[in-house]
Symmetry: C2
Subunit: 379 residues, 2 copies
Amino acid sequence: MDTLARGSESSRGSAYGRSVIGREVRELDTPALLIDAAALDRNLRRMADDCAALGKALRPHAKAHKSPVVGLKQLAAGAVGVTCAKIGEAEVMIAGGIHDVLISTVVGSPAKAVRVAELAQESKVATVIDSETGARWLSEAATAVGTTVDVLIDVNVGQDRTGVQPEDALALASAVVGMRSLRLRGLQGYEGNLQHVYSLDERARRVGLAMDQLARAYSELSSAGFDMTWVTTGGTGTYRLGATRSFVTEVQPGSYIVMDADYLKVAGHPFEVALSVLTTVIGTYAGRAIVDAGSKSVSTDAGQPVLKDRMGIAFATAGDEHGKLTSEGDEVGELRVGQKLQLLPSHCDTTVNLHDVFYVTNSGTVEDVWPISARGRVQ
Amino acid sequence: MDTLARGSESSRGSAYGRSVIGREVRELDTPALLIDAAALDRNLRRMADDCAALGKALRPHAKAHKSPVVGLKQLAAGAVGVTCAKIGEAEVMIAGGIHDVLISTVVGSPAKAVRVAELAQESKVATVIDSETGARWLSEAATAVGTTVDVLIDVNVGQDRTGVQPEDALALASAVVGMRSLRLRGLQGYEGNLQHVYSLDERARRVGLAMDQLARAYSELSSAGFDMTWVTTGGTGTYRLGATRSFVTEVQPGSYIVMDADYLKVAGHPFEVALSVLTTVIGTYAGRAIVDAGSKSVSTDAGQPVLKDRMGIAFATAGDEHGKLTSEGDEVGELRVGQKLQLLPSHCDTTVNLHDVFYVTNSGTVEDVWPISARGRVQ
């Protein structure tokens, strides 16, 4: 028996703890979510440099990593703050020391408005609105606690999710002006549906159309004298394209920090996959091997993960806690029980959300353990 | 503004706490995972009664609920113990007061064997084996800590995941007999691939073939004099069918306790859906409404969830934190921002694993909050 492995993995409760720091990565119990520290650092620097060159502010989306540790690194590299999908994520980021947050989802109830207002009392918190109802809830909540909330009008630029139609932005802006405790600052137009259009030409064409929608709202509101000094758009697949427009002041990419296998198919970005799920072969059989990672360890909403450095082997989830490996050739026949492999998730956001910690690796050694503190914060 | 809602939802940190007990369900912040207490109790009693009538022991699979609170209810209703997919789940169940656990997944490393052996020191813990390598790791680990581990041979009955072929079970049993600190008790043959075969006739036919495989291993090992007093099989879709065989002593269904929308299509069971995800309409637009639950709140590995009591409206995840509602008729047009709806997940196990607590409801009131303590315990 491998005594090193025993020592590092046998203590119950310490499985997710920092006691593994300094150990070899292959000693980690599995499944375990890994971040390659060097790849993450390169992604961090490339995005910061790119945004500086483009002349746009960078407000990375924290939904991808859900960890204030990573968010603080983004700030240290020049980001102006972070973006959060949920108020619960914003609460975790603020508790972790990040005090400039844009919540990119509209509030859907008076109670949510109260939570936003309470956060805005102590930190720089802005959010988006797309209805008079939501704006009024926010205004009342902010007034009740004696604070002011910065808001952006969420514009539907073609994703057909939330957001007012461009032609309706002016009416909403005019209504907001009459509400207490809200300060209209600009626009959000997120083209989430275009991030994974693989072809750069096709993506550029469609982002152009989306930015035309945002431009229409921008022009009408600017002409009417509204403050339009904060216009945010873009994800990892589109920020460079949106940033060609002068009215865009800020981009909010998330995935770039760790990336995933699906983004490898998206042409025209400089980022590399820093994320993987370490898994163990628990059985070898005629024509297949089984590993200990299934749909509770690696998400499949964007397809199956792929094996790192073993392109001849295909992975398919085989239930919540198992994965099945097969190969055209004999690659699978050469695997042995106990052997460890790395899976590259197809979707970083939903895979990260399944785990409690990142194991940060550097040249085969566990360098650090970072809590994914906002995991599960869907409220 | 609804002051009740403010009171119940506005305190940060208490979002997942017990302070909501006694409130109306519609006051809960969302997304929130609900359990209907009455439906759960009926499922609990039906399964217990059914297994008593069938003359088989019931060892419910805790992977479905991941909560010792629910496991203890199953024990109180007559279950002999629980089944767990992962050692981490078993650790949580034992810490929660459940001291009879079968781990239904083969160990894949010496370190995992050590964790099983350590658990077996203090509680009644059994597991399954399908290779001499795995058996030897377990034997060495159990010997090292001075305990004995009960083992079942995992037989492949057609799922083609783990398990020895029936014709190879005798050789493995013969090898295990020579190993210290292991006590061979019987067999596991899990037909996980047949749980969701919707047609009862087709499912019965295929379970028959699977049980023929298990019967072959059983006969050979019994004839050779091995202890075969523990033979476990069956899930929610198949336990009644497998239980027709006399050699089967125990069934391990999991989903029956809360069920899901996909299981509603599976004919021939008496269980009802007790699980739902409460979600809020955050925006209404031409031809669609958007709710605050996406793929981080409700799993889609078995398809999209469906709306409870609103069959005219279709749900589709629209990213990690949004869902899109559409309808053929005008049902969606009648929805209002702030309105709350219930989604019935397509797959209970993976949806439960996204949440930290169950909100237990009874006639529209929050009756209790149960921690999903084994959420994320994939190791």
